[in-house]
Amino acid sequence: MKAIRIIYNSFIWSLLIALFCFDNLWLQMRVNTGYIFMALWVVLSLLFNLIFRKQSFGFGGWFSLVNLVICVIITLVSFGWTRLQTVPAALIREGLHQNTLSFTTVNIVLLFIIIGGLLWIMMAHRHGKSYKQA
């Protein structure tokens, strides 16, 4: 479960960093920011897995929830609702070289990963607590 929490939080941070890279016109006009997102996701996941390898801690359920809320607030303040409906989907479809995917399709998959992942982590967190109490 620790690995899932690490992969999930790395996903959120990678997406946030890639969004800011996309926001930089110089970088956006020269680099495939989708690659930045994917590379960061892999690197951060491996890095945190290595750091927390011998510890039971590794981003808890509440940590993941607060992290998501903070990251959503940062992106909403920085990009606004209209741009947020396009930019994450645009950078992901560019990274995957799937330019015919609609923004709606990519956004649905993103929401599924973000909300579904958090629900999974929170449920596992509760399950783990009740298991310990029993």
Binding site: A3, I4, I7, F22, L25, W26, Q28, M29, N32, M38, W41, S45, T82, R83, T86, V87, A90, I92, R93, E94, L96, H97, Q98, N99, T100, L101, S102, F103, T105, V106, V109, I113
Partner: protein
Amino acid sequence: MKFKKLGLWVIAAATVLSLNALGSGHAQAATKDQPLKISKKNKTVTMQAEVNGTYFTEPTRHGIVYQGGTNGEKAILRGLTSEKTFYKALKKIGAKAGNNLTAKDMTAGAKNGKSVKGDKLKVTIQWKGQKAMNFQKIIKSTKKYKTDFRFGGNLASAKKNNTGCVLCLDSCATGIVSDAAWPTGTTQNKVAEFRGNKKVLPKDGTRVQVTFKLAHKD
């Protein structure tokens, strides 16, 4: 435990691959290049392109970029013909290239940029249910201006860099066609910003036809 971890990595990889698979069916058709329509009599070249909705909200300096180029996803319109083929087509209708800009010119400041030279081109765009209109109408700029598209040429730079640039919104040393109304350095110094006009353009992914007509041969 190791198997469990391996399983989690497989889930992550599967997510990426499933997104890839979702688009692959359409991608086959989209990546297929489309032939240019050349009329030596009317001095026109017509290119197929697709609307990229990313640039309804984001700024860009690219009007049309060939989808196979390194900048294929950086333009308001995704060109469906190689910029090199497009260059040859403009030559076939008798257009003369300016070839006056170098890579060094692209590092210009806000006030010392150079404008592209070459034959003047009238650029229009149309799509299903929409009559041909001036290309300028699909561009939303932070400053008012009148487009002055020129056949910059730049084939050597296009071959070297493989960016796929067909039409740039300010003067460019790589784009086959670019706008002399804005000198080099316009976008990187934020003199003006350009976006796709959402109020005019059809939705993301719509096929459009862009026609380049040699202006002085009228």
